[in-house]
Amino acid sequence: MPTPPSARGGRRPVAVVSFAQAQNQRREAHRNEVETLMPVFADVLGKVGITKDDVDFICSGSTDYLVGGPFSFVSALDAIGVWPPRRESHVEMDAAWALYEAWVVLQEDGVDAALVYGFGKSSLGDLSRIVALQLDPYVMAPLWPDPVALAALQARALLDAGKASEEDFAAVAARCRRSALDNPMAQVAYDRTVDELMTEDYVVAPLRRHALPPITDGAAAIVLAAGDKAFEWAERPAWITGIDHRIETHSPGGRDLTLSPSTAMAGRLAGVQDGRVDVAELHAPFAHQELILAQALDLGEGVSVNPSGGALAANALMAGGLIRIGEAASRIMDGRADRAVAHATSGPLLQQNLVAVLEGGR
């Protein structure tokens, strides 16, 4: 049996062995959440030839506000079939944090595999209002600031600090959407030059339309396996050799919006700089946020950033961070990369950040 690469933290090696996602789209007109998830589960389990009964733990990330119904995550379990009674958990966060919880649970003996999933159907409600509800409920949410306006405050701060230009934002969008042309699951993909993008109108200055993420209905799932089981199920598991997440104050006015110290710290603790990085999948819903994240992780030249197109290609809330981990892991599993960084964000303006390092080993 081969040995996994050495990891930071954790007493058992854990790897991503399978990843699947639903087609990202503006509006899923037919299927409800359960009907969307079922084929994703069939895909993610089928890829490694296992059934739901082969996983020892199930963990999901979603938010009921998107659906407008309480305990939607409980109904979503109908898509798996939790009989006999299963060990299960849920986070009201992006499913990247569900993956973190699963990674922790997989440190236990007797828990050798986990199914992690996230889903978000944003087309049902008014996303601007729903997202505003993640803000402080006393002094911010009552003003109903929308997420694009908040992102614009951050983008403006970058410009004012001389750390980026509007052309830099357009360059991120042009690269991500061009990369997305190779991603069959992407929602928005195109080949346009920076000059072309700079002719677009502002949605909220200094953000032009290209700097915004799409609104997406989507879902994704990952199978994690520990130790020998990972080698049993996958030819080349994507070993999680480091994972950490950090949070900052919820108040955007209490932070330097041009920096992401929580990403930097999580990256350090996950060991991003312990070796060469081939690929980085960064969860940057707005184009300018990719610049902040790349700087926080100190990604140098030669790193392929968001080869999937990132969150600018598809931005399924509560699944977008997990998809970054899945996209990074896919590139390890199929041999396109040896060492990858995956990042997920949660909360307003990069408040909370998770960084994972994935390696193929020998």
């Binding site: 299927r31 409800n32 959440e33 009907e35 506000y65 109908d78 939790v82 087309s123 049902l124």
Partner: protein, 165 residues
């Protein structure tokens, strides 16, 4: 209003969210059945259980329940409660009976109102049938079922519904 005022201790933060709810494929079939005055269930291809209403999956096996099953109008009370609490907007006279009804041919019970029988005579095993609203009142909603009433048949044997209580 110049008098000294108390410190602020509470803050009203009303939230209103508008959605376009989508029932999905399976639930829409069930709701369309209700609009036509009939129950439509779905069968699991693995365990053969029939779910009504179905969410499109078997919650035991996690597989799509694509096969539609037309269900009849009759069923059995598997359990019930007597409601004695009045509440605002109540249109039914108390006490009244809310029961779990297992339709014949189905493997899951759902909630229904039992009428046309004194409350103290309702019992587990009681055979009932659905009473639908007038045809022009039918819609894609459980409100199409006005209530259930006794069929007059002998009670069902406990063994026939013990797995569904």
């Amino acid at each position: 209003m110049a008098e000294a005022r108390e410190p602020v201790t509470t803050l009203d933060t009303p939230i209103r969210l508008e959605y376009l709810f989508s029932a999905g494929i399976a639930q829409s079939k069930n709701l369309r059945g209700l609009a036509e005055g009939r129950f439509v269930g779905q069968r699991c291809p693995v365990c053969s259980k029939v779910y009504v209403p179905s969410r499109g999956s078997c919650p035991v096996d996690g597989v799509p329940t694509d096969e539609e099953v037309a269900l009849g109008n009759t069923g059995t009370v598997t359990t019930f409660c007597v409601v004695n609490v009045p509440f605002a907007g109540q249109s039914i006279e108390i006490p009244y009976i809310v029961a779990q009804v297992l339709l014949d041919g189905a493997d899951i019970s759902f909630m229904g109102l039992i009428q046309e029988i004194p409350a103290d005579q309702v019992r587990m095993g009681l055979r009932v049938e659905a009473v639908w609203v007038e045809p022009d009142q039918l819609g894609p909603s459980m409100a199409s079922v006005k209530h259930f009433r006794p069929t007059g048949e002998p009670d069902a044997e406990y063994a026939s519904y013990k797995d569904y209580t």
